[in-house]
């Protein structure tokens, strides 16, 4: 991935991408090579060329049915394996099973027990702004500020239409559906990570930024203190 991965999840995805990239390159070179070769080598040279009329070849046809099947199976297994790794990082029970009804107490309990977290932030997506509500009660928008190397969990809800949380450097995206709660976990070194809403949500969708600023603990504490006095 061109956005350098900083979280463990983004790293897992990045690794899978590189593996599939190699497979793709092989298929690409094979097909384009055969195509160019046959067009150049067998182009018409004389107006009355009369090539042998071959109708097919059962053996060849079997080969190029089986080969893609094997390839696809391998790719599938690699993908499932990566999903397992996403699970094993303990980030969440299952990479995709963290959307549930807003009032689903069982799910909320399971999510909070799934992994020890240092910071929980309540996020509300609404046309066209991300609001971050901190445990201390203050709210900021557009830019989320969190401490460095701490496990952060976002509990995200939507106030209107569907939005999506996505900060590329921090890993996978998740839809935020009205009436449901979505969760994202990450743990990142200090830095500034860009993100914005990733489901078209109407007029100002392109302005719905969700940048994440990760600060060293001391700076973070100072920032929180400053927010509280505002």
């Amino acid at each position: 991935m061109l956005v350098p991965p900083v979280s463990q999840d983004a790293q897992v995805i990045n690794n899978l991408y590189l593996i599939l990239y190699v497979f793709s390159a092989i298929v690409f070179i094979l097909v384009e090579g055969l195509l160019i070769f046959s067009v150049v080598k067998f182009r018409r040279r004389a107006a009355n060329d009369a090539p042998v009329q071959v109708h097919g070849h059962a053996g060849l046809e079997t080969v190029w049915t089986i080969l893609p099947m094997v390839l696809v199976a391998v790719i599938f297994l690699f993908s499932v394996n990566s999903m397992g790794q996403l699970q094993a990082t303990g980030t969440f029970n299952d990479p995709l099973n963290h959307v549930h009804g807003v009032n689903d107490q069982v799910a909320i309990k399971r999510v909070s027990e799934a992994k020890k977290v240092d910071v929980v932030i309540n996020v509300t997506a609404r046309q066209w702004v991300w609001q971050f509500k901190y445990a201390d009660g203050f709210i900021v928008t557009q830019e989320l500020v969190v401490p460095e190397n701490k496990t952060v969990r976002l509990d995200i809800v939507s106030a209107d239409v569907i939005h999506a949380w996505w900060v590329p450097a921090l890993g996978g995206m998740i839809y935020v559906n009205p009436g449901e709660m979505s969760h994202v976990w990450f743990n990142a070194p200090a830095g500034m990570y860009y993100g914005q809403c990733n489901v078209f949500c109407g007029l100002a969708h392109s302005q719905m930024l969700s940048n994440v600023k990760v600060l060293p603990q001391a700076d973070y504490d100072a920032w929180v203190a400053q927010q509280k006095t505002k």
Partner: protein, 552 residues
């Protein structure tokens, strides 16, 4: 009857026009399909150019974001519903009765109705720009609740939904007509395995239309009543219901758009290689398999919208499996050219354009079918790149292959091959310039459907290249139009004759353009390449008087 003598005046322009407007002849209807869908291609293309101007550099303000949202919505809708799908239907309309040796479609009037419904729907949908202030701006996917009255109050949204309903009716009628025509009206001797491959792909396509369209139509009507009569189909229920119904149609729709184009390739490549299609039966079976598997993958559009993980693994598998029959087709086309006599005329070049770009679209399709990857590329410009590689690199190159191949039959004149090659070369370069950089933009985190972006994101250069590419494409299409204007409309092109390309199927047995009744005598089919025998017979008749050499 009393012999009333009808004055036979030279048909004036008015009666000529009236003749077109009231026609039920499949060829005239086919021509009207081609002309009007090409117009929608140009219109949607102009929208795309404005989109590309706006995104050429960060912070541009060519149009405001409200208009931008209308433009990409109407670009996508227009390209899919008003260009690619009906353009292929139009080609089928013209060619299929000829290919199977029939005199018309089974239901000529229904055929006309399908066409006029399309025109009406097109006017209604684009009309949103004129009445009610704004066209639909909820993207071609019209996700609920964004598309409900609360969040999209404009009447442009209602008429958009209404227009798509009409299109559904149009294509359902068309599908029934194709199936009945092909089932009942084939020339004597045209058994199952002698049905030409393009006709085969239309059979599969029509079957898919019949299965998929009702689900979309139901969803659209539910949304219309939600918006206007306070029914509560979508407002209070699962936010994913619309997505399931929409994609249950719209994923198969991808194959509805690409299978007939594949059929065109399977006609053109053998003719221009002077060889039969490699593995005819396997080609037919792989089309059917694509048609069936096409219905099993729709949830891959919902991997991050919160679907049960086990269900998602299933759909990840089916999504990847569909690459197999597609791969079979690619290899069979190449094998058809292998050791052939490949003539690099424009129709074949367009086929090469199809194969070489569709490979990329296929590969990216499998890759983003992997759920972890999809969690990183879903809804980004990577996806925009992927589906243009399939729909433009695939369908549009296939459509142009079909146009260069069949326009001589339809009009009686040849297009200029030199200009055709320029068209191909510029479109191929422009296409890759436009869409390849979008992969990179997606990986760099650029979401789709954004009206503008900030300079600090580092997305400038790929966007600039994409815009240059888009105008290169536009220029290449202009060359096609000039070619058409001079050599066909201006009658400067060579006279095509019945069979300019050494075709293999029955449409090449009749005159160009064919007479109203298509064939003076219904042809009898003795193999899967009837023209080969007809040509041999004609040649035999000529040489019989000189030599006594028997046929082999």
């Amino acid at each position: 009857m009393a012999s009333v003598s009808i004055p036979v005046a030279k048909p004036g322009l008015l009666s000529e026009i009236a003749g077109w407007l009231t026609t039920v002849d499949h060829k005239k209807i086919g021509v009207m399909y081609l002309v009007s869908t090409f117009f929608f291609f140009l219109l949607s293309g102009i929208f795309a150019l404005i989109i590309r101007l706006q995104l050429m550099a960060p912070g541009m303000k060519i149009v405001d974001q409200n208009v931008y949202n209308e433009l990409f919505t109407m670009h996508g809708t227009g390209m899919i519903f008003l260009f690619i799908i009906p353009m292929l239907v139009g080609l089928g309309n013209y060619i299929i009765p000829l290919q199977i040796g029939a005199r018309d479609m089974a239901f000529p009037r229904i055929n006309a109705l399908s066409f006029w419904l399309l025109i009406f729907a097109g006017i209604v949908m684009e009309g949103g720009f004129l009445i009610g202030g704004t066209a639909s701006s909820a993207a071609w996917t019209a996700y609920v609740p964004l598309s409900t009255k609360q969040f999209s109050p404009q009447s442009g949204m209602d008429i958009w939904l209404f227009g798509v309903v009409l299109l559904g009716i149009s294509s359902t009628l068309g599908a029934v007509n194709f199936l009945v025509t092909i089932y009942t009206m084939r020339a004597p001797g045209m058994t199952m395995w002698r049905i030409p491959i393009f006709t085969w792909t239309m059979i599969v396509t029509a079957g898919m239309v019949l299965l998929a369209t009702p689900v979309l139509t139901a969803a659209l009507i539910m949304l219309i009543t939600d918006r206007n009569f306070s029914t509560q189909f979508f407002t209070t229920s699962n936010p994913r219901l619309w997505q399931h119904m929409f994609w249950f149609y719209s994923h198969p729709a991808v194959y509805i758009m690409v299978l007939p184009a594949m059929g065109i390739l399977s006609e053109v490549i053998p003719v221009f290689s002077r060889k039969p299609l490699f593995g005819f039966k396997v080609m037919v079976l792989s089309s059917i398999l694509i048609g069936v598997l096409g219905f099993t993958t729709w949830v891959h559009h919902m991997f991050v919208s919160g679907v049960d993980p086990l269900v998602e693994r299933f759909f990840m598998f089916t999504t990847m499996v569909i690459a197999v029959p597609t791969g079979v087709k690619m290899f069979s086309w190449i094998a058809t050219m292998w050791k052939g006599s490949v003539s690099l005329k424009t129709p074949l070049l367009m086929c090469i354009g199809f194969i070489s770009t569709f490979v990329i679209g296929g590969i990216t399709g499998v890759i983003q079918g992997a759920i972890p990857i999809d969690m990183q590329v879903h809804n980004t410009y990577w996806v925009v790149a992927h589906f243009h590689y399939v729909l433009f690199g695939g369908s549009v190159f296939g459509i142009f292959a079909g146009l260069y191949f069949y326009l001589p039959k339809i009009t009686g004149r040849m297009l200029d091959d030199k200009l055709g090659k320029w068209h191909f070369a510029l479109m191929f370069i422009g296409f890759n310039l436009t869409f390849f950089p979008m992969h990179i933009l997606g990986l760099e985190g650029m979401p789709r459907r954004i009206a503008t972006y900030a300079a600090d994101r580092g997305w400038d250069i790929p966007n600039l290249i994409a815009t240059i590419g888009a105008f290169t494409i536009a220029f290449s299409v202009l060359i096609f139009m000039i070619n058409f204007a001079i050599y066909i409309l201006g009658r400067k092109g060579e006279v095509a004759g019945n069979d300019p390309w050494e075709g293999a199927t029955l449409e090449w047995a009749t005159t160009s353009p064919p007479a109203v009744y298509n064939f003076a005598r219904t042809p009898v089919v003795e193999s899967d390449r009837p023209m080969i025998e007809l040509r041999a017979k004609a040649a035999g008749a000529k040489s019989d008087s000189k030599t006594s050499g028997g046929s082999h």
